[in-house]
Amino acid sequence: MRRRLIIPSWIPTLVVAVGLYWVVSYANSTARITPYWYSVIQLAAITAVSALGLNLIYGFNGQFSLGHVGFYAIGAYGSALITKDFVGKWSGGQFSALSWIMAGQAGILVVLFVAQGIRLGAIRKALRAALDSFMKGHEAWTLVTLVSLALVAFALAVGVAFTWALQRGFLFLLENAIVALPETAAQGIIFLLGLLNGGTMAALIAYLVGLPLLRLSSDYFGIATLGFAIMVYTALQNSDMVIATMKGARGMVAIPRWTTWAWVYVALGLSVIVMRNLIWSSQGRAIMSVREDETAAKLMGIDIAQQKAIAFAIGGFFAGLAGGLYAHLFGFLHPSSFNFIKGFDPLIIIVFGGLGSMTGTIVASALFALVIEGLRVVLPQGFEDWRFVIYPVLLLIIMLVRQQGLLGTTEWGWLRAPLPPERAVPAPAPVVSRTGVSEAKDV
């Protein structure tokens, strides 16, 4: 076994990570970069979080998704609703959004657990037999519609019950506790809650959307998820019909601008750690096996539907988290920031950085922002719009020269696949040789 590295790989990685954080904070605090560039850098890091999620879905799991921007939007609005509500509290508002959203999620979770129970248990066989006899007289889709309606009704019922309970008990306590805290601490907690809510909402919706859609093979799945992104966009444009504060096509305003470089960087760091640890584990291997060969994965005992749903949900969580950070960066959300053309940004980044490379995604996110914004500075006055001529040409050239993307599937430093653990006992001698089988060896 070759072991070239003597210094553990996490040391240089940590040095680079801390250095990068410090450089940007220093440049900002000494006003070496304009506030504009400061927010560009933050946006690049936010995009990296979202793109990491898409890389898990497309690069590692092999599911071509165009719907990522939809989860990004869900995360943005989902977190903004909560923090805005909290800010409203100071002017006598209520925590209604938080309770409703949490209740909705609780409802969905309960339904998922129930559905999982049915899937696992012996009930399933009985149900299938009953369904088979029922199906003879009915079209399959009628049944699917009925079942989904029943599930939605159930989710709503559970949701309403939870809302009631939450508003009565838990939230009353939470409200008092948070108000009692100093303002900065309370703000941090609420922001964290908001981000987590954005992430979990996106993850849950990704899971629900994924269950039926992930049966489709790659290209068809891409189109279906594009449909999902457009649905989210349309829903956001008309969102004021349901929740007035979302303001629909006029754009949601007065979201607290709480996103700072520290928040963004910690979110990015945690996403990278989670992603890296997930990929280089049994779960990650299962996810990658689905990309490599679905049939072979199935016959290795891997539930490919489950693996796809897991990857899609975790990827959706990352998008939602990034969306939440984005919402609090500019303090303004408009559906047009989430139209499907924007959905191609993370896709371009992961393809450009290398499908199946976390390092590539992070580097490409930085380069992407640098090219788009850098061209604005480089180009002479009045020619700024030529950015969108030069940048596609650059993309074309890169794709023609390096189809596998900037980094292919290679990783750097700590992100590389860890070597298998050192063995205490040497492996047994081979039984097979080039010429045949030699006998009497211990297996």
Binding site: N277, R285, E292, G301, V432, T435, G436, V437
Partner: protein, 269 residues
């Protein structure tokens, strides 16, 4: 011994296929197929190209469920069960055209098979605490041991698609064994091998069976190769059983010779 096609008794067998038919549109790929594989047997399924052998494997592993009939594995009906559950219950297979996880390392190819009993949860792997380190070491070592048996331990960090053909075949068998099967299905393991390589592969298969106490069902359309190692053979042609018996009986069976060589040639011999 029965050299004519007939129904084999399913008593005491690990795999019993009863009256299985598979229709692809109007095509009868397999029709009214019966087979019983006793525990611990090295069983051969042979026949000319297009006889329906691989379809039988696909039906056993749940890739294309039969139109009719039942497939009992250890008394459990496999019809309608998802492929991954069939594997988890103890059936593993290899493929005629090698299907490795091409871009993953040799070690990871084998470790994937341990996923369902990895012994740690997703959360534990994310925080890298608890059972993760212990279990990961444990399953890596098991995978390495298995690779060592197949003389692949020096290749463990290499990407699977870079292996030479013979090693890819061996890796595929190692990966199937990692799924801890009680029944191993090998689909033309000697395809594309020269006679010496095929010979050593057959010895290896024998060794696996003896050492791990597996039942092995083997597809091969090169009759010569299979005759040496199989203890019992079923011959298929056009989706139907045309003969059963020991290799010696099969070799002298008229219908088998006919199926392989054609009617006129068969008569001349």
């Amino acid at each position: 011994m029965a050299t004519q096609p007939g129904v084999e008794s399913g008593d005491g067998s690990i795999l019993a296929i009863n009256g299985v038919t598979k229709l692809f549109g109007g095509l009868r790929a397999v029709s009214d197929f019966d087979m019983a594989v006793p525990q611990g047997r090295l069983y051969g399924l042979i026949g000319p190209n297009g006889a329906g052998k691989t379809t039988v494997f696909n039906m056993i592993t749940g890739l294309c469920p039969p139109t009719e009939g039942s497939i009992l594995f250890d008394g459990q009906d496999l019809v309608g069960v998802d492929s991954h559950r069939i594997t988890q219950s103890g059936v593993a297979r290899t493929f005629q055209n090698i299907r490795l996880f091409q871009n993953l390392t040799v070690l990871d190819n084998v470790r994937i098979a341990y996923h369902t009993h990895a012994g740690y949860s997703m959360v534990e792997s994310i925080v890298r605490l608890g059972r993760f380190r212990r279990q990961e070491r444990n399953l890596s070592e098991r995978a390495q041991d298995l690779l060592a048996v197949f003389a692949l331990q020096d290749r463990q960090l290499e990407v699977a698609k870079n292996l030479p053909y013979g090693e890819q075949r061996r890796l595929e068998i190692a990966r199937a064994l990692a799924a801890q099967p009680r029944l191993l299905l090998l689909d033309e393991p000697a395809a594309g091998m020269n006679p010496t390589e095929a010979e050593s592969l057959m010895e290896l298969i024998h060794f696996i069976r003896d050492r791990l106490g597996l039942t092995i069902l083997l597809i091969e359309h090169q009759m010569r190769v299979v005759m040496g190692i199989c203890e019992w053979i079923t011959v298929m042609d056009f989706g139907q059983v045309i003969a059963r018996g020991t290799p010696r009986e099969i070799q002298s069976n008229e219908r088998v010779i006919e199926a392989y060589l054609g009617k006129r040639m068969g008569k001349r011999i």
